[in-house]
């Protein structure tokens, strides 16, 4: 190989650019390769950015970064076909710096973070698809793209949810559809004032919805809605195994979701700006590949890092955390001039000690819990039935709350035993 660098990072998403930024700051020669024409051009998120981890890397990043709105209002909505029951939480605590969470548009945000890495000294090479990792005697020594080859002491795979490179290297096997979800998203443009009035927001405040039930037609997963400055990100995440079983078409399910009486008024008058889709690694620890080999580390979506506990959907913060941990491991290896698993393996330990793997552990039971079909099919119907009974007055004598609850349980074919089981399991896994 003609050229050799300290580090080559494959993929300029949040994990890759975070690692590149930190390593370049420390003076290493870093090449950041991106297959799209610019960082973020292939990226799409169905979550919000819980950005506290980024603040450690770039203090007060929100002052410069193209963030959309800081999230002050979190809503969980249980949807049946013609009703919705919302838990609506607003707090001024979320109005304070350093902000807890932002809505972001990855085509803009990732581009900005890539530029920060570049300004820190990393060499950003866009428009190049890496075909394979070059391995010699069991050790990753470089990358090949078309006829070109490039060498490095360490390769960091940040090539996203599909990570074909991790699969080529045998770090992961063939995907199990039960570990994946399909995200479909529409970006709908609306004037800033309309968004602020419609969602009761002031200034750059924002709202994040998680929607359970009819949103996905009972398929495990959920809907989401985030307000941006002048647009709304809205879409669905549906578990792939159940999508295959049911034969549902994501493009049709999202159409019905957008037409739901609780959703349609929120996007009324809007103009479609973009339609996209992305795979989501939802399998938790069960799908995590081997995170390192001689001369190579795996970060971000490629490492299967995500947490979905029903309340929050996280991936971007874990990606950034893994990028930082990978950079620390590389710095350690550079100091010892040893890039074998003996030293690079410190990455696993750093991850295990950080919030990234700790949270994956804490929510290890969440993927299984989230597969419970009662969550999507029964509970939304139960809530709709109960609330209707509470509010509907038909000129006949009302019952007390308890008999109404029992009747609604019966209407929804929900046994007290199942309710207790789900409650206990939920408390344990979430």
């Amino acid at each position: 190989m003609e050229e050799k660098f300290d580090v080559i990072i494959v993929g300029a998403g949040l994990a890759g650019s975070a690692a590149a930024y930190k390593l370049a700051k420390e003076g290493l020669e870093v090449v950041l390769v991106e297959r799209g024409p610019y960082p973020g051009s292939k990226n799409l998120s169905g979550g919000v950015l819980y950005g506290r981890v980024l603040e450690k890397l770039i203090p007060e990043y929100w002052k410069e970064a193209p963030v959309e709105r800081y999230i002050t209002n979190q809503i969980i909505s249980f949807m049946s076909e013609n009703a919705s029951f919302n838990i609506d939480f607003r707090s001024q605590v979320f109005n304070e710096q350093p902000y807890n969470a932002f809505s972001v548009l990855r085509g803009k945000f990732d581009r900005w973070l890539g530029e920060q890495a570049e300004q820190a000294g990393a060499m950003l090479v866009p428009g190049i698809k890496v075909d394979r990792v070059i391995v010699e005697n069991g050790r990753a020594v470089g990358i090949a793209a078309g006829d070109e080859e490039m060498g490095a002491d360490v390769i960091i795979l940040a090539d996203g949810a599909n990570s074909f490179l991790a699969q080529q290297l045998g770090l992961r096997g063939r995907f199990n559809p039960a570990h994946l979800a399909v995200g479909v998203k529409e970006l709908i443009g609306l004037p800033r004032e309309t968004i602020e009035e419609r969602f009761r927001l002031s200034g750059n405040e924002g709202v994040a919805y998680g929607l359970v039930g009819f949103a996905t037609r009972g398929v495990a997963g959920g809907g989401f809605l985030y307000t941006n400055q002048e647009s709304i990100s809205i879409g669905l995440v549906m578990h792939l195994d159940e999508l295959i079983e049911t034969g549902l078409r994501p493009a049709e399910v999202i159409e019905d979701f957008l037409a739901h009486p609780s959703i349609a008024p929120l996007i009324r008058g809007g103009k479609l700006l973009e339609y996209g889709a992305h795979l989501v690694p939802e399998g938790g620890l069960a799908m995590m590949p081997r995170l390192y080999m001689d001369g190579l580390l795996v970060v971000g979506d490629a490492a299967g890092l995500s947490v979905n506990n029903g309340f929050v959907v996280r991936g971007m913060d874990l990606a950034i955390g893994s990028g930082i941990a990978a950079a620390e491991a590389v710095l350690e290896a550079k100091k010892k001039n040893d890039f074998s698993v003996q030293t690079l393996g410190v990455y696993q330990r750093l991850m295990a000690e950080s919030f990234v793997l700790k949270d994956m552990q804490t929510y290890a039971g969440a993927p299984d819990f989230m597969k419970n079909e009662r969550l999507y099919k029964v509970y939304p119907e139960f809530l709709a039935s109960l609330m209707t009974a509470i509010y509907q007055h038909e000129g006949v004598p009302k019952q007390h709350l308890l008999p109404m609850v029992m009747q609604s349980l019966k209407n929804s074919h929900l046994s007290l035993l199942a309710l207790a089981q789900d409650g206990l399991k939920g408390v344990r896994s979430l």
């Binding site: 024409p37 051009s41 428009g127 074909f164 995907f175 399909v182 999508l243 078409r249």
Partner: protein
Amino acid sequence: MNRMSLPEKLAVNKYELDEGHPHIEVKAEICNAICKTKACLFVCPVGVYSEQEGKVVADWAGCVECGTCKAACPTEALVWEYPRGGFGIIYRYG
């Protein structure tokens, strides 16, 4: 919102089309002989796949490169890779 068809929605997106270089190939001999689910026909969020004269074909230009079809395909009938560098979907917002 006025309801739009899927092709109308995709027409809003930005693509850099790599003409003459399809990044998806359906191996008909495997697909037809082995696959019973033909999951690609419905799981693809942008409707890339359709059945024509008994064969699954891929209209790859509208692909947003999510990889759902490949992950859902129970056989090895789909030869699916990312488009060449710089080509394919270009999210302006993401």
